[in-house]
Symmetry: C2
Subunit: 217 residues, 2 copies
């Protein structure tokens, strides 16, 4: 039942965009709007459920994108494959992507559950760097210019999620993930309209540039 509600809500989200109507979902189920409240205490809770599902769907797309690269030592190929998988999922599910990464809804505060699901995709990306560091392919670039406060934040994140990874490599991975997010959002949110038509190629070009900066051979 709650799965049927979520499925229809996802369909409506894809068709109509962000403004999901409980009443429309109920109507399509042949029910009255108040019946939905048996299964979800509020519209925000429904959105939260969709968000968590979305993070996991994106994370799974990223993980299978990584797993499909047979040469596990090909760090660059794996990195690019994950980025492309992220973009493909986003292009295929633009409304859900906007729900996950777009402007936050005013009254809505993301519960803790969403943030743990959100880390799945960047974790696969940075996991590639961990593999490279463990294999000796990637070396610690040193503290570079990480200033004090940033250093502390990154160290905390490293200890919590990516044990053993040098901070500088974590920083590079985060930089790459943020650019992947930025490039996808830039495209999906209409900023590329009228300027770039070859979107996939342009995205790949950007990811290759970032792979250079990260130091992926």
């Amino acid at each position: 039942m709650i799965n049927e509600i979520k499925a229809i809500a996802r369909r409506h989200l894809a068709a109509e965009g962000a403004n999901l109507s409980l009443r429309a979902v109920a109507r399509e189920m042949g029910m009255v709007s108040s019946a939905i409240y048996r299964y979800f205490p509020s519209r925000d809770e429904l959105l939260t459920a969709l968000i968590i599902d979305g993070y996991h769907a994106l994370g799974e797309a990223a993980e299978t994108g990584d797993a499909e690269v047979t040469d596990r030592a090909d760090l660059r190929g794996r990195w690019l494959a994950v980025c492309q998988a992220v973009r493909r999922w986003a292009v295929a599910h633009p409304a859900e992507y906007a729900l996950l990464f777009g402007s936050p809804v005013p009254g809505y505060a993301a519960p803790q559950e969403t943030t743990v699901a959100a880390v799945r995709t960047p974790a696969t990306l940075i996991g590639i760097l961990q593999d490279g560091f463990a294999a000796g392919t990637l070396v610690d670039p040193g503290p570079e210019e990480l200033t004090g406060p940033v250093h502390a934040d990154l160290a905390a994140a490293r200890d919590q999620l990516f044990a053993g990874l040098p901070e500088a490599l974590l920083a590079r991975g985060a930089l790459g993930w943020i650019h992947c997010f930025g490039a996808v959002s830039f495209e999906l949110f209409g900023q590329l309209d009228g300027l770039i038509e070859a979107r996939e190629e342009y995205f790949d070009h950007q990811m290759r540039q970032m792979a250079d900066l990260i130091g992926l051979p």
Copy 2:
């Protein structure tokens, strides 16, 4: 009159978030909601006006950020100054930033006027690269790996907006602009929550990394 409406709408936007209510604006003006329709044919038109104003406000912030660097030959300093100015404006006006760069409203198609206003900020950034190329500080890095379709898109954009700039430099400038957008959006849309506390320092760190990639000395 229409300026008063826009001012109040901006205030409501900043206070409440994206869901701007015409009736609330009218209420605050001591008018009835239908009176607003004398001045704006629809809510979307009001939003369009706010969007155009927003793009120009951001563009002006970027331009003054650039102009305040006295050493005009300090390309890297100018680039970083513009990026910081963009972030400062965004942090100061998060709802307006979300309106400009966040998830697009479903039924809303951005009119041509908005896209011309939108180009003002990236134009100041890439203008820095133009200055550097004209002065000989920056050299054409060559065609690099720009594949065919991307090459065509970039050439068209170059001819239209940045005459004389080598495509590879334009590509690097766009990469830097997209990362600036990505980093600001990542922060403002809540993706940094619980991970990075030193936001300004982390942003600056990212922009320095990108300045290296772009080749700013």
